[in-house]
């Protein structure tokens, strides 16, 4: 009689997910599914609203990466209004984006994924968590808090509000940066850069070598990748063109507003979240781990794979080392963590670079806009993947149509596939324990999924609960932390 294992919710991801592992009569994995609950009614809520309200409204979608939504929405507004924003406005948005990245990547590496590596995947749950890692490494804990807090302070100074930002407006940035503010922020950014250097050196010396065997097997499958690059092919997290790479490394570049020519969104009856896939490859959609079709990934590893180079010197050095070790495209799922640290370094360098740019304190940060009937697509690389805001307005500037594809949604199929691969690899003959189930979760955490954008759960829950039910639906065992 087949069994079903349910992990709900998956711990240490932003938002909530439920993993169902269906075993066959022999106790081997027959199928797996990762479910999330989608935020409902947002599109309908936006219809008829003035498009310029959207950059402020969308920050309430997600408490984790409000800056990404804020900026993607502001860029979609620019496109709707048909304006080119002043260089200083663009640089201030770019600066805020990079600072927000450093906060997010530090949090993820040290405290969301870190416990798996620092404490070990088999360590007891009571210590394999944020408190455990802080107690085991108090100096690192202090540095993490210090540097994340510096990020918050910098965003407060630059934009006035770090949590619910309002300064990216249609046509630019509403608050010019004064020379005095720049002088206050620059040393903070330099301190974060020092921590970014420490972080990647620490990981390369103490973390990655110990887990290379796990990296080589867990959650692994071959896919394509998508991310944003500048015109010269350098990784860019604020602006550029989208690059869609096939598993063989060949790629196509396209403008944001033609994304519907390259990507389609598939609906599966068992999931609220859509499954984007590369329709331009003409092979359809399949999540068969051994023979995937139309599957591409986003987020840090994807961005590193699609980029020809990095735009800052220290990140470029790390990029070259990474590519020499793992090739292009690198397919090992846990390499998302390594790629994330290269991005941390890039964004820290980029923030310092922007603050040293004399144009950053220009008073010319925005241009006026006039409502019109138009379609506008705004896109940024959110820490968790490509974020697309697609708006249409009438001649009064009121929203008539809206589509959002959030970063984690692009990775919906890949997350399902990595869980499937990991479960099949680890669960044999019906034997599993907490360590094995945590390794299955690790395959998900590599993607740093943020399901908050797509989730508004009202049901109560325990942090992790595994229900084992037989094929008749009768509960035969429960494991909880």
């Amino acid at each position: 009689m087949g069994k079903r294992i349910i992990i709900q919710p998956v711990s240490r991801i932003e938002g909530h997910a439920k993993v169902t592992i269906q075993l066959d009569d022999l106790g081997n994995v027959a199928d797996t599914r990762v479910n999330v609950v989608e935020l409902r009614g947002f599109e309908k809520f936006c219809i008829g609203r003035p498009v310029e309200e959207l950059p402020r409204i969308v920050t309430s979608i997600c408490g984790v990466c409000p800056w990404s939504h804020h900026l993607a929405s502001a860029k979609a507004n620019d496109a709707v209004f048909g304006v080119t924003i002043p260089p200083a406005g663009k640089k201030l948005r770019d600066l805020c984006n990079s600072i927000a990245y450093t906060e997010e990547h530090i949090l993820h590496f040290f405290f969301l994924s870190g416990p798996d590596f620092v404490m070990g995947p088999d360590a007891d749950y009571s210590v394999r968590n944020v408190i455990g890692i802080a107690q085991a490494n108090p100096e690192i804990g202090k540095k993490v808090v210090r540097n994340r807090h510096l990020g918050t302070q910098m965003l407060d100074i630059i934009s006035g509000k770090s949590i619910h930002p309002v300064t990216a407006v249609p046509g630019g940035f509403s608050k010019p940066l004064t020379q005095k503010e720049r002088d206050k922020v620059l040393p903070m950014a330099e301190e974060v850069l020092e921590f970014a250097k420490f972080s990647i050196a620490f990981a390369k010396e103490n973390i990655f070598p110990k887990y290379l065997d796990t990296v080589k097997v867990l959650g692994v499958f071959n896919s394509g990748f998508m991310g944003t690059v500048s015109e010269d092919g350098a990784l860019n997290v604020y602006d550029g063109k989208l690059r869609l790479m096939k598993p063989d490394g060949s790629f196509t570049d396209f403008a944001y507003d033609s994304y519907t020519d390259f990507i389609a969104e598939r609906v599966e009856e068992w999931s609220y979240l859509k499954f984007p896939y590369a329709k331009s490859w003409g092979e359809g959609f399949s999540m068969d781990v051994d023979n995937p079709k139309g599957i591409y990934r986003t987020n840090s590893l994807a961005r590193i794979n699609v980029a020809d180079k990095m735009a800052t010197p220290l990140a470029q050095k790390e990029f070259e080392e990474f590519r020499a070790k793992f090739g292009r495209p690198a397919q090992l799922t846990l390499l998302y963590h390594w790629a994330r640290l290269i991005e941390l370094l890039y964004n820290a360098e980029h923030a310092v670079e922007l603050l040293n740019d004399p144009e950053i304190t220009s008073r010319e940060t925005r241009v006026p806009v006039t409502p019109r009937a138009a379609r506008g697509v705004g896109c940024v690389e959110a820490p968790r993947g490509t974020l697309i805001h697609d708006y249409e307005t009438d001649d009064k500037g009121l929203i008539t149509n809206l589509n959002l594809i959030v970063g984690t949604t692009h990775n919906n199929a890949p997350i399902n596939m990595s869980v499937n691969q990991a479960a099949k690899l680890l669960i044999k003959d019906g034997k599993y324990d907490q360590g094995i189930l945590n390794r299955v979760e690790m395959a998900i955490r590599a993607y740093d999924p943020c399901l908050s954008c797509a989730t508004h759960n009202l049901d109560g829950r325990l942090p992790v609960r595994i229900d084992i039910v037989d094929s008749e639906g009768i509960l035969i065992n429960t494991i909880q932390n």
């Binding site: 408190i131 804990g141 808090v145 508004h456 009202l458 109560g460």
Partner: protein, 160 residues
């Protein structure tokens, strides 16, 4: 402002996109508009980002003496009634809002109270209805309870 430097933090929580769930945010906006907040108090509409702030405080050497959380709950009380709630009385439905999914049997508020010895106060108001789809704005009874929630916050701000 630097919340790690303040003696008392007042944090409004919830999602304004889901009707009465936005109570905490609305209270903070009312408080900032209608009251003079002492200089030793940090007041913020934390919205959905409260975990970020609590996470930093849990790990920080500097901690506030008191944290006042303002939030909407559904405990079957009369809609719009406003009351104090102990951290341990937080319904599971809400505990998740205060967890980074780091601590399996606890959450950041409990960490702050039990291990960091911060005085955690929760001022909660009973929702009338939380919509399943995005819908802006509080119900009338929740809106009417905002001033009394502010008075409760002010009492908590009083010196030791």
């Amino acid at each position: 402002m630097d919340y790690l430097e303040k003696e008392i933090l007042v944090l409004g929580c919830g999602n304004i996109l889901f009707g009465d769930d936005g109570f905490g945010s609305e209270v903070i906006q009312y408080l900032q508009k209608n009251y003079n907040v002492p200089s030793n108090v940090y007041v913020d509409d934390a919205g959905l980002s409260v975990r970020t702030i609590l996470f930093n405080i849990v790990l920080s050497e500097k901690k506030p003496r008191k944290i006042i959380i303002v939030d909407a709950v559904d405990l079957g009380k009369p809609a719009g009634s406003t009351f104090h709630l102990d951290v341990d009385e937080m319904p599971e439905i809400k505990c998740d809002d205060f967890s980074m999914h780091q601590v399996p049997t606890s959450n950041l508020l409990k960490e702050l109270k039990n291990f960091c010895k911060v005085d955690v106060k929760i001022i909660a108001s009973q929702v009338q209805y939380i919509p399943e789809e995005v819908s802006l704005g509080l119900s009338n009874v929740m809106r009417d309870s905002i001033p009394s929630a502010c008075e409760m916050i002010l009492k908590e701000m009083s010196p030791l």
